[in-house]
Chain length 206, copies 2
Amino acid sequence: MKVLPEKTVERLSEYRRALIKCLDSGQTHIYSHQLAKLLNLTAVQVRRDLMFIGYSSLQRKGYDIKALVDLIVSILDAKEGLNIAVVGMGNLGTAITSYFTGKRSRLNIVAVFDIDQKTIGKAFNGIACYNISELKKMVQEKNIKIAILTVPPNVATQTANDLKEAGIAGILNFTTVPLHIGEQIYVEDYDMVTSIEKVAYFVKNK
Amino acid sequence: MKVLPEKTVERLSEYRRALIKCLDSGQTHIYSHQLAKLLNLTAVQVRRDLMFIGYSSLQRKGYDIKALVDLIVSILDAKEGLNIAVVGMGNLGTAITSYFTGKRSRLNIVAVFDIDQKTIGKAFNGIACYNISELKKMVQEKNIKIAILTVPPNVATQTANDLKEAGIAGILNFTTVPLHIGEQIYVEDYDMVTSIEKVAYFVKNK
């Protein structure tokens, strides 16, 4: 299969989460319009996305939820799992580590990093905090592929470059600094200021 | 002006932040291709967005940065400012309060809420934490328009309904639960799991 568009990947992730909830509550099948409603989408959008990944339901009962979840897992997840590091253990890094730990079995936070001597050596949700000077060594040792970047803005670019040099393949960027570090590394910006400004704009224009 | 599309609002917010940085470093004018580069966009996209808000530059030196920032401010910001509450003061609520406090002068966190007696009465970055039972009273008293929702998933829907009833107009939803609370209230989902799964997908497909 070709690499999917970003927005499709986002929706597949959301479908999966909604579908797993349905399974947990004992539901076995779901119609496109029901799944659409759970995610505030149109049924046409849902059907198009699922046809796009080669899933079509001829059953009167709707989609087989278990089969659909398995298909999404096979598309989104790396078979052997992916190892993640959180870089910058201030309030935000701490919160994110706590948020993700144990959430997704194939995405594992295996190390966290900081520059503060008081923080280095501590455990965060059972995960050891290393000195950022050990980044390259630990990335190789623990086969870390993804970094969640939560350092202060003034060191964001430098740290991103260090991550790139250490062999990281993708960054989830929680800083307010846009990163320009080339095509080899996938960067997803996670900008809280933009989100709250967006809410503010639509509240103002009600 | 008509209400702008969501993606345009997001980009305006990002333009503003980038432009303010340019101003801070002494730059007075900027070409569309320069602004585009700062945000990993095409120059055509930038020019289209700015024409859309009625800004065109006939100057050889490029856009006048100060004038452009002022225009974006007049479009995005509420004149009298907007008051915000953070609801749920766990790790994430604490981090977010610290992240936003003092960042944007027209978006002010004026109260935070929790249900835990140990947390109620404490101050977070100087902002008092109230019992969630006082939500309605405080929303009216402090004229709160926006809530940042950081409660556990099992109480997300109930709390969102409480926020709606209390008169909140917009929610930035940090829980993993999609909220279905009607059209009167603007909801922006801020889903960390989807973002990290997206990074993982593109890392896997490199």
